[in-house]
């Protein structure tokens, strides 16, 4: 049987608030295959970002396991686990944050090249990615010289340039105006569909969520 792209089983995560343990989610399981997209919806603070962080190894669940491609993670914070996660993020998992996805000292093109290089991809088509996202003429500009929408397009270019199997996007349009946001998400879905990678999108925008093939509502506030 061909393993799915991403499988998470029985994930539990608690925070401590004062002396009270606060449960972010309990026994959460999900599965995602190539070409599929999953919308994580819920209010602010419902644990969307935490879940994304767990799915790319930036945070550890209290219990449960995560499998990405054929790498299985069942807890453990040893150096080897770290290295396996790092390797996955480097080559297979593209992450897009709400903002500040670019190195400020590098031009847009150099940012894309850096990301492609880290992923072991050819740097030659980096300019093409910028052009496909409609910001080819801004390639030599620095992040602080372009608009927020242009920055997020460049962030998408970086992600696609690494040719990932999985894209994790945490409110990628949260800081953009509606029109620009639609534009950017349009490109995101378009490219995801064309390249057949998986996409997990954390958003509080219900409309945006409907464009995904699956939904997971974390809408409740964390339980005490």
């Amino acid at each position: 049987m061909v393993a799915s792209l991403l499988t998470a089983r029985d994930l539990n995560k608690q925070f401590r608030s004062g002396n009270q343990p606060v449960s972010v989610f309990r026994n959460l399981s999900l599965q995602l295959d190539r070409g599929e997209s999953l919308a994580l919806v819920g209010r602010s603070g419902s644990g969307k970002s935490t879940l994304l962080n767990i799915l790319c190894g930036l945070e550890k669940p209290d219990t449960g396991s995560v499998q990405v491609l054929d790498e299985v993670f069942e807890g453990g914070t040893d150096r080897q686990t770290e290295a396996r996660w790092a390797n996955l993020r480097r080559q297979q998992i593209g992450v897009v944050f709400q903002e500040a996805n670019l190195m400020p000292a590098l031009s847009l093109l150099d940012n894309v090249r850096l990301r492609a290089r880290l992923a072991g991809q050819n740097e030659d088509d980096c300019r093409d990615w910028l052009e496909r996202l409609g910001i080819g003429e801004l390639a030599g500009r620095y992040p602080d010289q372009v608009s927020g929408g242009q920055r997020q397009r460049a962030a998408l270019a970086m992600v696609f340039a690494m040719k990932p199997a999985l894209i994790l996007a945490d409110e990628p349009t949260g800081s953009l105006d509606r029109h620009t946001a639609e534009d950017v998400t349009g490109q995101l879905f378009d490219l995801q569909a064309r390249h057949g990678c998986g996409l997990i999108l954390a958003t509080h925008d219900a409309e945006l969520a409907t464009r995904c093939s699956h939904h997971l509502d974390l809408g409740h506030l964390p339980e005490t």
């Binding site: 790319c56 790092a86 390797n87 993020r89 903002e99 500040a100 000292a105 150099d110 290089r117 602080d144």
Partner: protein, 757 residues
């Protein structure tokens, strides 16, 4: 909530920042106060000691006998102003004291040697001569001299007595002055470094409070109001924190001053006077002014000089200023001119260094791989953003390099100077009425004695260019003869010589001249020098030029054998190493052949070790101060670097998100931080070497008329580099802990800076 409390609320949330600012003000104040305090005291004490030893003369008996209280009474009854000076050497820790008679010194007026006023008779080092004499009676060595004012002429001296120069040990006056100048320069540099550090902390605070300022502006608070409030805040902060700074500085000065005082005391017989308390106002005012200038001067200055604020204009401004400064130092007219030149160079270097380093960091990076490019670009950002602490550290390192080179050069020069003057273990003065030749014969027949020679001193005239017998054009110089020429002199440093110079000197085929005479009259080895010896005129080739380490008079060295009988020898002594014999035995033998019981014997070994010890201690203090400055500058870069890195934490975290392992991220940070501080050390090197050169080859000749040899110490450069790298390493270690502390929120990148490129 008022605007004021809104501003201050920042520190409630970030108490560490307030602490960092306070710490910087306290440390900077402490350092500056300490250094300036020491300098002031050194100046006062040296001024007194200068007076104590400046150009005194003494009366000695024509018959060579030691002077006594009877001589004193006799000379006073002849109407001469004479004061007794009984120098008593006691074994450590008591050391040397000087017995004087305050009644007798009254006729010297304010020029009394050592300001031997009654209120100074506290044993440091002056005390009443009766007490000093009692020490001598209890077994200490005592040496009585009779001093007369400098204006006493030879014809006023009664028969059976003559005038003689009076100096107390090595003439260290100029070295002392030089040392002071050195401290002065240090004080100014410390102030400069202080200003840079305070400014860097202040600017950092501004960056971190940008959010608050933006909010306040949105709420309609005018920008000028915010400015005024910030000004008040800084004045209040500084006023509060300079107090412990000054207090700590005093403490520092006291601690160092203990050793320093001993140095001055043993060097110049000048006690380091107690700290003249009070006086918090002046240092406090200076520090508040420096802090305000450092923080706010640019607001006004840049408005007036808009061309200074733009990035390219810094280069346009900096390069000509650098050129002008370098030219002023290369061709100095006066000491003031020279100092202005040095200041200009420092200003220009301060402006240019961050730009240049930033440029160099990126240079050639375009073709490099993406990661290298990121490293280089990030480094360039760091150089620009951390410009002030970077420049402060650069100045501090340059200063430490220069001071170290200067101090080592001084030490080395002094060592060689001592070596030349005190080559033999003992000096025995030939008594006035005795024939030197008897002593020479005695030593020549003595088996077991070590190396020895006879030194005869007198005056001669050199006739430049052999211009006939025209006495008006002849120059009086000291003549200095040695026989036999042996190992005690052949080890001297010759600045220039023809081959077999010592042999030619020994056989009377040539003379040597000292550096001073060679410079003044332009003599070079091989040239013929015309001079008189008593009745006869001689013309002999110069076979060598020997170093004189600052001796102000011209001097000719000849072999004793060419000295005619008629030559008027003013002073004769035997320099000797006792070899396998006991010195007491040789002394007895010489006293017997000269038929005297009053031999003047100087133990050079003890003088040498005393002098060396004293200088070691002096230089140790200079070093301690420079190292403190370095530590302060290093700490500042550490704090600034750490805080700045923290504002960029999100971006370093991105590397982690992008798949670099924590270890790899830490490696990148380490590379950045160590390259940053290492580059500072490298940038400081030319400045330090240049500063050394300016000190020894420009300031010293202008101030004292003689130059020190310029030396460089690459071993020490390496030490500085390693120190800077350690600072970089410390930054990266702190940073790594910071990154490991949790997931930083990306939002912070926008509101609190860190997004600079």
């Amino acid at each position: 909530m008022t605007v004021c409390s809104a501003l201050l609320s920042h520190y409630r949330r970030h108490p560490l920042q307030l602490l960092a600012l306070a710490l910087m003000i306290v440390l900077a104040t402490m350092l500056w106060t300490g250094v300036s305090h020491l300098t002031d005291h050194a100046r006062a004490s040296l001024a007194q000691s200068e007076q104590a030893i400046a150009g005194q003369q003494q009366l000695v008996r024509e018959d060579g006998q030691a002077v006594s209280v009877q001589d004193f009474a006799y000379l006073r009854r002849q109407g001469l102003c004479v004061m007794p000076w009984l120098e008593v050497q006691r074994p450590p820790p008591e050391g040397r004291v000087i017995g004087v008679d305050p009644f007798a010194s009254a006729c010297f007026g304010s020029d009394a040697p050592g300001q031997a006023r009654v209120d100074a008779l506290n044993g440091e080092p002056f005390l009443d001569i009766a007490e000093a004499k009692a020490m001598v009676r209890q077994g200490s060595n005592g040496d009585l001299s009779l001093l007369v004012p400098v204006d006493v002429e030879a014809d006023a001296v009664p028969a059976d007595y003559r005038l003689k120069d009076f100096s107390m040990g090595p003439a260290t006056g100029e070295l002392g002055e030089s040392f002071l100048l050195n401290l002065d320069a240090l004080g100014v540099l410390v102030l400069l470094i202080t200003a840079l550090l305070v400014r860097s902390v202040y600017q950092l605070g501004l960056v971190q409070r940008r959010e608050s300022f933006t909010l306040l502006r949105r709420f309609g608070v005018p920008a000028t109001r915010v400015q005024v409030l910030l000004l008040i805040e800084m004045v209040a902060l500084t006023s509060v924190w300079v107090i412990p700074g000054i207090w700590l500085g005093r403490l520092l000065a006291e601690i160092l001053g203990g050793g320093f005082g001993q140095v001055l005391e043993s060097l110049f017989d000048a006690p380091l006077y107690a700290v003249d308390g009070g006086g918090f106002v002046l240092p406090a005012l200076v520090m508040v002014t420096v802090v305000l200038l450092a923080c706010f001067a640019d607001k006004r200055l840049l408005r007036r000089l808009p061309w200074l604020s733009g990035r390219p204009s810094v280069v346009w401004f900096g390069v000509p200023v650098l050129g002008l400064g370098l030219a002023m130092v290369a061709w100095p007219f006066t000491l003031g001119w020279l100092f202005v030149g040095i200041a200009l160079v420092f200003v220009a270097v301060g402006l240019l260094t961050p730009r240049v380093l930033s440029y160099v960091a990126q240079w050639g990076a375009e073709g490099a791989g993406a990661i290298t490019l990121w490293q280089r670009r990030e480094l360039a950002v760091l150089f620009r953003r951390l410009a002030l602490p970077v420049v402060a550290l650069q100045f501090a390192v340059a200063m430490v390099l220069a001071i170290q080179a200067l101090v080592t050069t001084f030490e080395d020069t002094f060592e060689r100077w001592l070596g030349q003057r005190l080559e033999a273990e003992f000096y025995v003065e030939v008594p006035e009425q005795s024939a030197a030749v008897d002593g020479v014969r005695y030593l020549a027949g003595l088996s077991g004695v070590g190396d020895w020679h006879l030194v005869q001193r007198g005056k001669t005239h050199v006739v430049p260019e052999m211009a006939g017998d025209d006495a008006a054009t002849s120059v009086e110089v000291d003549l200095f003869s040695i026989s036999p020429i042996g190992p005690l002199v052949t080890g001297w440093t010759l600045l220039d010589a023809i081959p077999d110079a010592w042999e030619k000197l020994a056989t009377g085929q040539g003379v040597m001249v000292n550096e001073q005479l060679a410079r003044r009259q332009g003599y070079q080895p091989g040239e013929t020098i015309g001079f008189t010896l008593g009745e006869q005129s001689l013309a002999l080739p110069v076979v060598g030029v020997y170093a004189d380490y600052g001796r102000p008079d011209g001097e000719i060295l000849v072999a004793g054998q060419i000295l005619p009988e008629t030559f008027n020898t003013r002073f004769q002594s035997l320099s000797l190493n006792p070899g396998t014999l006991a010195m007491a035995e040789i002394e007895q033998g010489l006293a017997a052949v000269w038929n005297t019981d009053q031999l003047t014997v100087r133990d050079n070994g003890s003088i040498r070790s005393l002098a060396s010890g004293v200088f070691d201690q002096t230089f140790l203090i200079t070093r301690a101060i420079t190292v403190l400055t370095l530590v302060l500058a290093g700490t500042s870069l550490l704090i600034m670097g750490w805080v700045f890195f923290t504002t960029r934490a999100w971006y370093y975290r991105l590397l982690f998100v992008w798949g670099l392992s924590p270890r790899e991220v830490a490696g990148q940070l380490r590379w950045l931080a160590m390259f940053l501080t290492g580059a500072v050390a490298v940038a400081a090197l030319p400045l330090g070497v240049w500063l050394t050169w300016a000190l020894v080859s420009r300031i010293n000749p202008l101030a004292f008329g003689w130059s020190l040899p310029m030396a460089v110490y690459p071993g020490f450069w390496l030490e500085m580099l390693v120190l800077c790298l350690v600072i970089g390493l410390a930054i990266s270690v702190l940073m790594r802990r910071q990154l490991g502390a949790g997931v930083p929120a990306p939002a912070m990148a926008n509101v609190a800076g860190g997004g600079e490129r």
